[in-house]
Amino acid sequence: MLKFILKQIFVAIIQILIVATIVFSLLRFMPGDPAVLALGTERGSDPEAVQQMREQLGLNEPFLTQFADWIAGVFQLDFGQSLFNNVQVWDYLASSIPKTLELAIAAIIIGSVVGVTLGILASINRGGMIDKLATSIAAIGLSFPVYITGTAFVLILSIQFNLLPSSGYVDFFDDPIGHLKSLIMPSFAISLPLIASITRMTRSSMLEVLDRDFVRTLRAKGLSEKIILIRHVLRNAVISVVTVIGLEMANLIGGTVLIEYMFNWSGLSTLLVDSINSRDYPIIQGAVIIIASFYILINRTVEIIYGLMDPRTR
């Protein structure tokens, strides 16, 4: 078991290193000189100033030296400075990571709770009204882009009934209730695809298990339906929920990118989109590395949990 976990950690480190290499080289070969960008249009036309800036940014070093310096820094959470001001990239990242994590975790919790509940209800009402409702919600959740469901929420909850703020991030320590209010719509919007997949997965795996012989034996033994469902059938559904969360991670990250932009939520993705628009290389590198690392770590964790629950997959 320990060997299996160590192997997953090793794979994760290799993958993160590969991602770092690709991002770094990709940005070096992008059109545009960072030194000119840092100086702005006016001073950027002066070749002497550009040369000086290149020296200062370390752009005259050989490619490999630059890369080695940067990687060494990354491991100490030193991502360099923003091109346009003297703020450390890590300061930007540190203030936006918790906001994105909060959104993602809220979405995962909502998705799991609502999805598993809907899936169970649908499977024990197979063919009934609740089943049809749950299947339709799943179909809509899987096909509608998150910003459309987000827009629907805004139209109904904040414009029609004026219950929730239509966008913006409120700091928890300034106004705890306002913070939760601002969290509701974005996290529900992101969680809808997750709710959809988890509902589908829970429903089908519950139905599959309910058909098995051992359930009939348990019923014949006189166990109550509740205990059979919770203790015996649901256990199988939990494995599939973990798998689905792992598979849906790419969508979840895509969801945070779009929803953060839409709800003006100043998280990692907003930072990334803004710095892509302003071409702030050091921030882009940092943000991409962090997002991709989360993605890789979650995939590896899912692999480990999967291995713990089902030893055949190791």
Binding site: P31, I148, L258
Partner: protein
């Protein structure tokens, strides 16, 4: 196969929904009531009138005309990207599954590397720097989805290759090229078609997402995602401006997913949920 598809109600229903979308994508520019790019500062953000059926946007452009023209780039990008990833992924996947050994390891490890990134992240980076536009989007999104295809065709090829008739064909002296073309490819079309429908939906989602962020189809040419992005700023003034493109995109996505589900049910009964 076609007979079975035509008996599937879901398939019929989703095709009926999608047919007008494709037709409008094809002939859109000839049937617009107004010029979709023409500004009209006297009629800004109108809700609905006899002149402008679905109202106007922040520059007074006719929303209906923009919706009609706005399908084209989305469908174009989706078709192009799906074709690129289908061809590329199938070539890589079949070669990897057929040749095994070093070729397989190299190809599949390389695919794993691309899969380390969430697709939208790489797309954002590349589009942000090399510029958007239909051709770039098509190419980038297509390349990003190659690994998903390669994985499917790889495992399908492995299955088919171990069957006796492939071995017997080889022992009769058939060239590898012939075996791949005549025995492997025809037998892995089902998973390829199913994956193509999934990719088609995913590429539309990615294109409209990028356009929503303002990094997709280049303005002033409209696309649905971009219209939703622009309109969400005017949601208080004219909610219908955001409702129409959202409805169009949502229903199209729903139809494509229903189509994908029905294709999977018919072509790949083992995957039926």
């Amino acid at each position: 196969m076609f007979k079975k598809l035509l008996q599937n109600k879901q398939f019929i229903f989703s095709t009926i929904l999608l047919l007008p979308v494709f037709i409008v994508a094809l002939i859109g520019q000839f049937i617009t009531p107004y010029d979709p790019l023409e500004f009209n500062h006297n009629q800004v953000l109108i809700k609905s009138s006899s002149e402008h059926l679905l109202g106007t946007d922040e520059f007074g452009r006719d929303i209906l005309s923009r919706l009609i023209v706005g399908i084209q780039p989305t469908i174009l990008v989706a078709i192009g990207a799906t074709a690129i990833s289908l061809v590329g992924g199938t070539i890589f996947g079949v070669i990897a599954g057929y040749a095994r050994g070093i070729a397989e390891k190299t190809v599949m490890r390389f695919m794993d590397i691309v899969l380390c990134f969430p697709p939208i992240l790489l797309a954002l980076l590349v589009v942000g720097f090399w510029g958007s536009g239909v051709n770039n989007l098509m190419l980038i999104i297509g390349l990003l989805y190659i690994p998903y295809f390669a994985r499917i065709t790889h495992s399908a090829t492995l299955q088919v290759k171990s069957l006796e008739y492939v071995e017997s064909e080889l022992s009769l002296g058939a060239t590898h090229f012939r075996v791949i073309l005549k025995s492997i490819l025809p037998n892995i079309t089902s998973p390829i078609i199913v994956q193509a429908s999934l990719t088609f939906a995913a590429t539309i989602l990615l294109e409209s997402g990028l356009s929503f962020l303002g990094l997709g189809v280049t303005p002033p040419a409209p696309s649905w995602g971009q219209m939703i992005g622009d309109a969400s700023g005017y949601i208080h003034n004219n909610p219908f401006y955001v409702i129409w493109p959202s409805l169009c995109l949502g229903v199209t996505m729903l139809a494509i997913n229903l189509l994908g589900d029905s294709l999977r049910d018919v072509l790949d009964p083992k995957l039926k949920r």
